[in-house]
């Protein structure tokens, strides 16, 4: 099985929240969506961006968890807290540099994106990337991501995999808005 990653092309987002709707439909998600879509400049324009768990290589949430409830899957996915282990201290929500983990006060339980582990462990794209109508979220091999980099021909700092716009190496690859600047027009 070829390793694939979640790849975000922020330029494409149309703010439809399909990713969030689809998130609620994943087998293990109990109808709760685990990610975010933001209006970038709500009083000015309609630009939006998804903010997904980036599945850090060295995840602050897991490092800060006193109960070792946040496990890292062999695929690199940083899983949601194990229900029996989570002690509800919310360290993870404070630790995450992107503010991703959500907390259910009533259930005294943290929950977060697990990259649809029941799908991705078998190489099936996660729900969000499956449905994303704008191809903001894609499920690609490293070769495909490299090909994208070549295609967009960007040396203007807009091509990003993780650093320096993120706080550390991540399993998810992010591509900032502005990629079209490097595209050569057909005519």
């Amino acid at each position: 099985m070829v390793k694939k990653r979640l790849y975000l092309e922020l330029e494409n987002c149309i703010g439809c929240r399909s990713c969030l709707a689809a998130c609620t439909q994943c087998g293990g998600h109990e109808q709760r969506n685990r990610n975010y879509v933001y209006d970038v400049n709500p009083l000015v324009n309609r630009q939006t961006m998804p903010l997904m768990c980036l599945h850090c290589v060295n995840p602050a949430c897991a490092r800060s968890c006193p109960a070792q409830a946040i496990q890292i899957h062999e695929t690199g996915a940083v899983l949601s807290a194990l229900v029996e282990k989570c002690i509800g201290c919310q360290n993870c929500t404070i630790a995450c540099p992107y503010g991703i983990p959500k907390f259910d006060t009533e259930q005294n339980l943290m929950y977060k994106c697990d990259l649809c582990i029941d799908r991705t462990k078998d190489g099936i794209p996660p729900m969000c990337a499956s449905v994303c109508p704008s191809n903001t979220l894609q499920w690609l091999t490293d070769e495909e991501i490299e090909a994208k980099q070549k295609q967009f021909n960007l040396d203007n700092g807009k091509w990003v995999t993780s650093m320096p716009y993120l706080e550390g190496e991540t399993n998810v690859r992010v591509n900032l808005p502005g990629i079209l600047q490097g595209v050569t027009k057909l005519f």
């Binding site: 922020l10 929240r17 969030l20 709707a21 998130c23 609620t24 087998g27 293990g28 998600h29 109990e30 109808q31 709760r32 969506n33 975010y36 879509v37 933001y38 209006d39 970038v40 400049n41 709500p42 009083l43 630009q47 961006m49 903010l51 060295n58 602050a60 490092r63 800060s64 968890c65 006193p66 109960a67 070792q68 229900v83 029996e84 282990k85 002690i87 509800g88 201290c89 919310q90 360290n91 929500t93 404070i94 630790a95 995450c96 540099p97 992107y98 503010g99 959500k102 259910d104 009533e106 259930q107 005294n108 339980l109 582990i117 029941d118 716009y165 706080e167 550390g168 900032l176 808005p177």
Partner: protein, 364 residues
């Protein structure tokens, strides 16, 4: 504080000796003291070792091995920086007023599980209390902290810690409950485990996440213990003790096996669960003291103590989120932190726009 402690320990030889010097490690100390404690209690309970039920010695050995595993795991776990902080600060607050209430809610009636669904709560109550009841009966018997003596007048004397606690009628209600406590607990556990297995077979979420060894094995172990335990009663009552010694051995082995495995698998959450009471104390106590204001919007979102602790813990792991804008990411409330990231991506100061964020928690 921590650092100072460590230094004291390291330089103990040059300074005042402490009791710790007697032990090769924390583990050794914990084991020694616990085993010693049990031995003392046994000495008292058995009226100077005169009333030991040697049929149960296997359980005794099992318990000691369990303790070894437990301390091994717990100490390794407690040494992790985030765990250490909560343990230490939480234990300091253990005598606060709120402890009892939180402990009852978290450890006895499992309120938080009820919020995850009545079914799951019911199954957890059955398994949890079934096990607790069984332990409350078994271990005092194993270590002879409690035993029964039969008088001629149709009364039992219950002896607890070497003292005659009370006399009960042999065919009375208390006696009935005493004989059948383990049967009742077995039935509770069997019911609970069956509920759990049914849920795991049916519920897609549970299926998606479960791993056989991790999630199902403990259930099967509990089921096995409960069924073999019940069989002992059945053999006794209906089969005049047929094959009872053999079954007793099987039962005993299954209990010992489970005890040994307990600290290493899913059941480890039982001894570790009190941590959630400590965590709650920690959050509530420091939350009342001083709340951190978000560097962007000013909302109070976490205690200053926890914010600092998390920053410290991450530092120990060589993770630092100090921004050029002059703050640490842990100092932003969660919505502002997310918007700040969007602003880093877009170049637009999203976190400065004073508009409530769109619904991020719509349910499916």
């Amino acid at each position: 504080m921590q650092a100072t402690n460590k230094m004291q320990m390291n330089s103990a030889s040059t300074k005042k000796s402490t009791i710790n010097d007697a032990f090769a490690s924390k583990f050794a100390k914990s084991m020694f003291l616990t085993v010693l404690g049990i031995a003392v209690l046994m000495f008292i309970g058995t009226r100077m070792f005169t009333h030991i039920d040697l049929n149960l010695y296997g359980y005794m050995v099992g318990t000691i091995v369990f303790l070894g595993g437990f301390f091994y795991r717990f100490i390794a776990w407690g040494e992790r920086p985030p765990t250490k902080i909560i343990l230490k600060k939480g234990l300091k607050l253990v005598f606060s007023k709120r402890t009892a209430k939180t402990a009852v809610s978290h450890l006895a009636i499992y309120d938080f599980i009820k919020k995850r669904g009545f079914y799951r709560w019911m199954q957890h109550v059955l398994i949890g209390w079934g096990c607790i009841l069984a332990c409350l009966v078994t271990f005092p018997l194993v270590f002879s902290w409690m035993y029964f003596t039969m008088d001629d007048n149709g009364y039992y004397t219950v002896v607890v810690m070497g003292m005659d606690l009370l006399e009960i009628k042999a065919d009375g209600i208390i006696a009935w409950f005493s004989y059948n406590a383990l049967n009742i607990s077995a039935i509770m556990v069997i019911a609970g485990v069956c509920m759990a297995l049914y849920r795991r077979a049916k519920n897609m979420q549970a299926r998606a996440e479960q791993k056989f060894i991790y999630d199902l094995m403990p259930l099967y172990l509990l089921l096995f213990i409960s069924i073999t335990g019940l069989l002992l009663t059945i053999q006794n009552v209906f089969l005049h003790g047929w094959m009872q010694p053999q079954m007793s051995l099987i039962h005993q082995f299954s209990v010992i096996l489970t005890l040994i495995y307990l600290p290493f698998g899913k059941l480890a959450h039982i001894p570790f669960r009190p941590m959630s009471v400590l965590a709650r104390n920690y959050r509530e106590h420091y939350g009342e003291q001083n709340m951190k204001a978000c560097k962007v919007c000013g909302d109070h979102f976490v205690s200053v103590e926890q914010s600092n602790d998390v920053i410290h813990v991450l530092g120990v792991n060589h993770i630092e989120f100090n921004m050029e804008d002059g703050f640490n990411l842990a100092e932003l409330c969660l919505p502002c932190r997310r918007k700040y990231r969007i602003s880093r991506f877009s170049g637009v100061p999203t976190h400065q726009v004073k508009v409530k964020e769109a619904n991020q928690n719509a349910r499916g």
